[in-house]
Each structure stands twice: as C-alpha cells, then as structure tokens.
C-alpha cells in the first residue's frame, strides 16, 4: 500500500463571512505527483498556504508525514519547500547570494557544492552572479525552483511552477521536476492551470471549485469519467458545471 505523505481532513478556512476552503479532504501519496486544480479563486493557494503552515486553518486537520501541521511546523518545514509566482526572492541580491541565504536557513552542509549542483541542474550558470531582479521571468522561475530544491525536500509544493515560461524552458523544467521526484521519491503537489503539464506530471488530480473538492482521480480516470480527450476539457466541464452529454444535447 502506498504511504501517505499528506492527509487533509475537513479543512476549512474562513475570512469573516467568506469561506475560501470549505470542508476539503484529500491525500497526497508519498513518491507521487498530485495536481491541485481549480479556477482562479477556487482555494488552491489558500490550501497550499495552510499546508505550509503560513496560514492557520479555521477548522479541520492537516497531517504531513504523520505529524500535525501547523503544530509540528518546526519539524516539518526542513523536509518541505515551495515555489510560487506570488512570492519573490530579494531582487537586489544575486542568485548566488539568495541561494547562500537559503542554504543557511535550511542548514545545508557544503553550501558551495550544493549551489554548484543546482546551478548545473537548472542551468543557472550564465546568471548566477547577477542580481535576481535583473533576470527574465523564466530565469527567475528557475532560481525560485533552485531555492525550492536546495534542501532536497520530501514534499515539494509548486504553485504554477511554469507560469510565464516559454514552451521549451517549461518542458525542460517539467522533465527536471519529474526526474527529481523519481530520484528522491518525493511527494509533489502541483497547482497549475497548464493541463498539458498536469497530464505529463500528475499521477493523481484533485479538482477544487469554490473551496470544495469536486472531483478526484488519476488523469486517465477523469478523462474516462467525463468522456473527454484531454484534461483541458475535463477542467472546463468541472469549472463550468457542464458535461459532454449536455453539450451534445
């Protein structure tokens, strides 16, 4: 039986009268990639923030590697990392300086060697000593991913990791992420609007709408259930509350 890396149970987040996450339950198996999908405002980023301990849930339970989050935050965070287009690294620091800072924060031994490995893996060499703020969007994304991998996390949370990347760079990064996930046996949670990415990387999909889980399964299962050829159509069916049968009628 597959070990569970993350177990979310009846998770709720309220902001006053607004319910951003409403009774969400799902699991993320260890060593697998789970895609968290949903339209803008579905509650994906809020869910990720609660998984990271950045945001306190209003109700419900999160267990990561068998420990409660956020209560066991200090034991869990060294084994986790994340990237998001909504959070930056200091733009005036060079890429190397930023990675040194995070090597200190995660207590990485042999910092120089680890930075060299990441430089090679993510092809950062041509701009490693340039201020992060002077990089292109694609280069910045690679730097944030380097930060996300610096501690070789067992749980990697990626919020739109290939947003703003050209198809070639995005494809390379997907390949790199898949390789990392397999090598390390890490659990990956991927929030993305790119359905090609989801089909390529995800073993399991969790679909959210208005803070609730509305569909779950492997991409193949979802394609079959909704009678569609690709995940983009499945996404639209769920987001718009339509079905193929309705369309044909």
């Amino acid at each position: 039986m597959q070990a569970i890396a993350v177990r979310v149970q009846d998770l709720v987040k309220r902001y006053g009268q607004v319910v951003a996450v409403d009774g969400l339950s799902f699991t993320i198996p260890a060593g697998r990639t789970t895609a968290l999908l949903g339209a803008n405002g579905a509650g994906k980023t809020t869910t990720i923030a609660m998984l990271l301990g950045l945001l306190a849930p209003s109700a419900g339970r999160i267990e990561i590697f068998g420990l409660p989050m956020p209560k066991a935050r200090n034991r869990l965070l060294p084994r986790m990392n994340f990237s998001s287009p909504y959070v930056d690294l200091p733009l005036r620091l060079t890429v190397r300086q930023n990675l040194k800072v995070y090597a200190d924060l995660y207590g990485i031994p042999h910092t120089g060697q680890r930075i060299d490995e990441l430089t090679q893996r993510l092809d950062l060499g041509s701009f490693i000593d340039r201020p992060t703020g002077r990089l292109s969007a694609g280069q910045k994304t690679r730097v944030v991913l380097a930060k996300a991998l610096i501690n070789r996390p067992d749980l990697l949370l990626l919020d739109e990791p290939t947003a703003s990347l050209d198809p070639d760079t995005a494809d390379r990064l997907r390949g790199m992420l898949a390789a990392y996930q397999q090598e390390r046996g890490a659990a990956v949670l991927l929030a993305s609007h790119n359905m090609n990415e989801v089909e390529r990387l995800a073993h399991h999909v969790v679909m959210m709408k208005a803070g609730k889980l509305v569909a779950e399964g492997s991409p193949a299962q979802l394609l079959e259930r909704y009678g569609r050829e690709d995940m983009e159509e499945v996404f639209l069916d769920i987001a718009r509350g339509r079905s193929r049968a309705m369309e044909e009628a």
Partner: protein, 269 residues
C-alpha cells in the same frame, strides 16, 4: 509545544540577506550617515551660538550634541528594526522566509543585529565627524557611561521597532509611515533637550515610565554635574526590561494574527 531552539546558522542567513542588501547599495549606506551627520552639524552650531547666551550651555558644551547622538541611537535602532521588516515586505519575501525552518524569534534576533550594525555605522560615523567639525567627542563628554546609555537606548529602539514592525505587518504597507514617525511621539516626553521636570506633572509620570527619561536625565547628570547616577541607570534598565517584554508580547500577538489572516503571503498594500 516545540522546544525553544535557536540556530545561529539561520540567524546568519537572515543577517546575510540584509548585509548583502546594505553593502551593495550606496544610497542605503548614504542614508545611514546622512541624517545623523546633518543633526550633528546643526546642533554643533546651535551649541556654539547658545554658549554665548547661556551659562548652562557654556559650562556644559556637550549637552546638546550628546543628546542628539544618543537620540539618534534610539531612532536609528528603531528604524533599523522597522526597515529589516519593511525590506521583506517591499520584496514580497515573507512567504519564502516563513516556510523555511526559520523561527520568528530567530528572524527578530537577526534584524536586531543588523539594526545594531546600522546604528554603529550611522551614529558612529556622525560621532567621529563631530571631532573635526566641532571638536566634540562623545566618549570624552560622557566617558564610559556612553556605552551604558547607548545600550539602553539601542534596546528601547529594538522594542519600539518590533512593535511598529508587527503593526505594519498586520495593517499592511499603508501603515509604513509609522516606521519613520512613531518614535517622535515620545521625543517631547523623553527629556532629550530639557529636564523631565519641565513637563506638567502628569506627563512627568509617563516620562518616567520610559527608559529614555532616565537615560537623558542621567546624561545631563554626567555632562553638567560630572557624576554617573546609578539609581537613574538601574531605573532605565528596569523600564527597558518592561518595554522589551511588552514588545515581545505585542509582536507575538500581531504575528499570530498575521498568520491567521494569511498576510505573510500577501505582504504589501
């Protein structure tokens, strides 16, 4: 509850982040020394003028320059802490920092240290410039008590900076001006340029509840009477301990509120 552990390496990480920022930016370095230097130049000339008009100033020429430099330790200490937080908000960086193993108190310690460096560079530079410009050396005027007074004011600057930073994190960048303005609320009741007894009785009571009142009275005792008043100094230390405890409590509550509301991911306006 997790044990209160402290990682020097994580503190170094945050310190490094601010050190890299400070040393790579000449406007930031210039800003450190600009105002303290302007203040020292201005008050040096005011002192020269007043010395011809007032026997007190004539007999205790260092009274204003000492006060200006000590006040700047408090102001720069507070501002250094506030800027340590504001820089993270400008950079939208809290989300990464607080999903790393960094503990909030380690972050605070690192910011305190970088604030100390900022004070040493800014006020230290201005104090050294006062020697050739006005023939004034604060160490000569106050002796070893300079260190004691500066230490208390630095600690109080940390305390106020921490409360302001927590408030700005909680309220967003709209409250940013507090970082520059809030400290001046206590200047009139701190006895910086005049004795506490000048104030109305009810304000005197408030003034003695701040470490600044005892420090600046203590400074006048050294400059005017040539004696270090240990009673005043221990009172200043006691008030400092109270204010540091209040600041830690206020910051903890504000930080918890920030976490509850998800503001670490949305630090901005």
């Amino acid at each position: 509850m997790s044990a209160l552990t402290l990682s020097l390496r994580r503190i170094r990480g945050v310190f490094r982040r601010h050190w890299y920022l400070l040393t790579a930016s000449w406007p930031r370095l210039l800003d450190l020394v600009y105002w303290p230097t302007v203040q020292v130049i201005l008050w040096g000339f005011i002192t020269r003028f007043l010395a011809t008009e007032s026997s007190l100033v004539a007999n205790a020429a260092g009274i204003f320059l000492s006060a200006v430099l000590l006040w700047d330790v408090l102001f720069r200490g507070q501002l250094g802490v506030s800027l340590g937080f504001l820089e993270e908000m400008y950079a939208r960086h809290f989300g990464h920092l607080f999903t790393s193993p960094l503990r909030p108190y380690e972050h605070v310690i690192a910011v305190f240290l970088i604030a100390l460096i900022r004070v040493m560079l800014g006020v230290g530079g201005a104090a050294l410039l006062a020697i050739p410009i006005h023939g004034f050396w604060i160490g000569g005027a106050l002796g070893w008590s300079t260190i004691a007074f500066m230490a208390v004011l630095m600690g109080f600057g940390w305390a106020i900076g921490l409360m302001i930073s927590g408030t700005v994190m909680r309220l967003g960048m709209g409250a940013e001006s507090l970082a520059w303005a809030a400290i001046f609320l206590i200047q009139p009741i701190s006895g910086v340029f005049y004795p506490i007894e000048t104030l109305p009785q009810w304000l005197q009571t408030i003034a003695w509840c701040l470490p600044t009142g005892a420090v600046f009275e203590g400074m006048r005792a050294v400059v005017v009477d040539g004696r270090f008043d240990t009673g005043l100094f221990f009172w200043a230390l006691a008030m400092l301990a109270v204010w540091l405890a209040i600041a830690a409590g206020v910051y903890t509550l504000l930080f918890q509120s920030v976490r509850r509301r998800g503001l670490l991911l949305q630090s901005g306006e």
